[in-house]
């Protein structure tokens, strides 16, 4: 926004309102996460008696250590990491190729493909569970991490493609044409010239897909049953449906689950804004 000449008093009021509002947002965004952490470090015996205290009179890490040692969570954690990591990697690769194609070429059928991608965003995904289950069973892909990766990749590719397309749109076409004249094939120009320039976009897409895959519950619940392939969300949910729920452990597990996605997102959100801006300028 532009700079405005203003009196000092006006400026003080202006900035106080600005920071005041931001403080409200910060509180709203972070308080639930703080509370998650608070419950996780509260000893079980104080959970209800000190339920509404801002900080328990006694703090403990036992919930965390128990989650790590006494439960299957480390396994779930690894499963989730494998599934989300592979999904992010493969989706971004596929979406980058498709986004590049949308951004750089005009061809017959492109509009149809784009509409199809938009339509997939409208599905009540619940509807697909039974058919997907039936398709994956003979392929031996139910109850396996690979099956989850395939399904998640398909779900995330449309949005990731639009995202990547907007990043490519921000890079002038001249650059790869210059590279092609300099002696690259189109693919070579893509790899050597365009790819390094889209790194922020790729980071943003990776992070976006990773967080989406990390959160997915429904399909993980339906497609996977053996403990070897259970992901974090499902593991957490089984916690809830167990007879005696250990809330402290559950929250500790939840907090641990939060960390990878949060770190990833924390690092990439800047590029997300940047990349969408670059695309917006052109389109």
């Amino acid at each position: 926004m532009a700079y405005y000449a203003k009196s000092k008093g006006q400026r003080v009021v202006d900035w106080s309102v600005h920071y005041g509002l931001l403080a409200c947002y910060l509180f709203f965004a972070l308080f639930p996460l703080f509370w998650l952490f608070k419950v996780a470090v509260t000893p079980t015996k104080l959970l209800y008696s000190e339920g509404i205290r801002m900080w328990p009179s006694e703090m403990t890490w036992t919930n965390f250590t128990q989650v790590m040692t006494d439960t299957d969570f480390p396994q779930f954690f690894i499963n989730s990491a494998i599934v989300s990591g592979s999904t992010a990697f493969i989706s971004t690769l596929i979406a980058a190729a498709a986004g590049y194609s949308f951004s750089r070429f005009h061809y017959r059928g492109k509009a149809v493909i784009i509409v199809l991608m938009l339509v997939t965003q409208m599905f009540p995904l619940v509807m697909l569970i039974a058919p997907i289950f039936r398709i994956l069973t003979p392929l031996g892909l139910t109850d396996s991490l690979l099956g989850l990766v395939v399904v998640y990749t398909a779900f995330n590719v449309p949005f990731a493609t639009f995202l990547m397309q907007s990043f490519f749109d921000g890079i002038p076409k001249d650059l790869e044409e210059a590279a092609m004249i300099d002696g690259n094939t189109r693919f070579g120009a893509l790899v050597k010239i365009i790819f390094p320039l889209t790194l922020p976009g790729i980071a943003a897409t990776l992070g976006f897909v990773f967080t989406a895959a990390w959160s997915e519950l429904l399909f993980a619940l339906m497609l996977v049953s053996s403990p070897d392939a259970v992901t974090f969300p499902v593991g957490l949910l089984t916690f809830v449906s167990k007879f005696s729920v250990d809330f402290g452990q559950m929250m500790a597990a939840g907090f641990l689950a939060l960390i990878p996605a949060a770190i990833f997102f924390f690092l990439i959100q800047r590029y997300l804004v940047q990349g969408l801006t670059a695309g917006a300028v052109k389109g």
Partner: protein, 270 residues
């Protein structure tokens, strides 16, 4: 060095025809300027020669060999873009040497070529910089350097000077001419600026609405403008724009009262 033949070439995007039956023979070592109003198809023709656009029908050949389906990298052509299209993540040196690196030239050869080019273009102190840290004029020079370092069959220029201010433009014009005399490489230069066309060309190709309207030396064009649609190319309007042009036998001295730039002296020596 190369001669370029364009035979009955057309270009359409879907159902819209952009170029209609272009015929043009370009001699070895010639400096051709394509001139015409914006949107008349100059860039499209240039990009077809470069291999960046498919030829809808007809043929384009270099040294009598049809190259319609040859990808750009196999045509041995260099091009200077209007936007310069410098690789933002590479230094000036890497930008200039990129084509040679791709062709796997030996290191010493690349180094000496880069050295030669950068001293011709006055880029010596800038080799380590990224394009972002250069002025518009310097970027333009890097784009030129990237083209000439390869010693290609032909040079293509797409309005390479239109982003420079008037003084720099004039300076670069004469430098490009000087370079051409030195390298004597076939060059095709696109502009919508008649003065640029008049002062730089061996032969001018005047285009309008996807047709070639007239081909000739600057003097021929000036003396006998095609009358078909005299308002079109704007070359004729030179007279209307209060030009005083003294034509000598093989050179032209134009004295012009520009509307924006005041008096300026345009010259073209033999």
């Amino acid at each position: 060095m190369a001669s370029i033949q364009i035979t009955e070439s057309t270009k359409s995007y879907g159902n819209t025809a952009v170029l209609h039956g272009i015929d043009l023979n370009i001699q070895n070592g010639e400096f051709i300027v394509l001139v015409g109003p914006s949107g008349c198809g100059k860039s499209t023709l240039l990009r077809m020669i470069a291999g960046l656009e498919e030829v809808t029908s007809g043929s384009i050949s270099i040294n009598e060999r049809i190259i319609n389906d040859l990808p750009p990298r196999d045509r041995d052509i260099a091009m200077v873009f209007q936007s310069y299209a410098l690789y933002p993540h590479m230094s000036v040196e890497e930008n200039i040497s990129y084509a040679m690196t791709l062709r796997k030239s030996p290191k010493e050869k690349i180094a000496s070529a880069v050295n030669g080019v950068s001293s011709i273009l006055g880029l010596n102190g800038l080799l380590e910089r990224r394009p972002k840290a250069l002025s518009g004029g310097q970027r333009q020079r890097v784009a030129m350097g990237r083209a000439i370092v390869r010693d290609p069959q032909a040079f293509l220029f797409d309005e390479p000077l239109s982003n420079l201010d008037a003084r720099l433009r004039e300076q670069m014009r004469s430098e490009i001419r000087k370079l051409h005399r030195k390298l004597n490489a076939t060059s095709i230069y696109v502009t919508h600026d008649q003065i640029e066309a008049m002062t730089m060309a061996d032969r001018i190709v005047a285009m309008h609405d996807g047709y070639i309207q007239q081909v000739g030396t600057p003097l021929e064009i000036y003396d006998k403008p095609a009358l078909k649609s005299s308002h079109s190319t704007g070359l004729i309007s030179l007279k209307a724009r209060r030009f005083t042009c003294l034509t000598l036998k093989k050179s032209c001295i134009c004295l012009m009262l520009g509307q924006k730039c005041g008096w300026s002296l345009l010259y073209k020596f033999p």
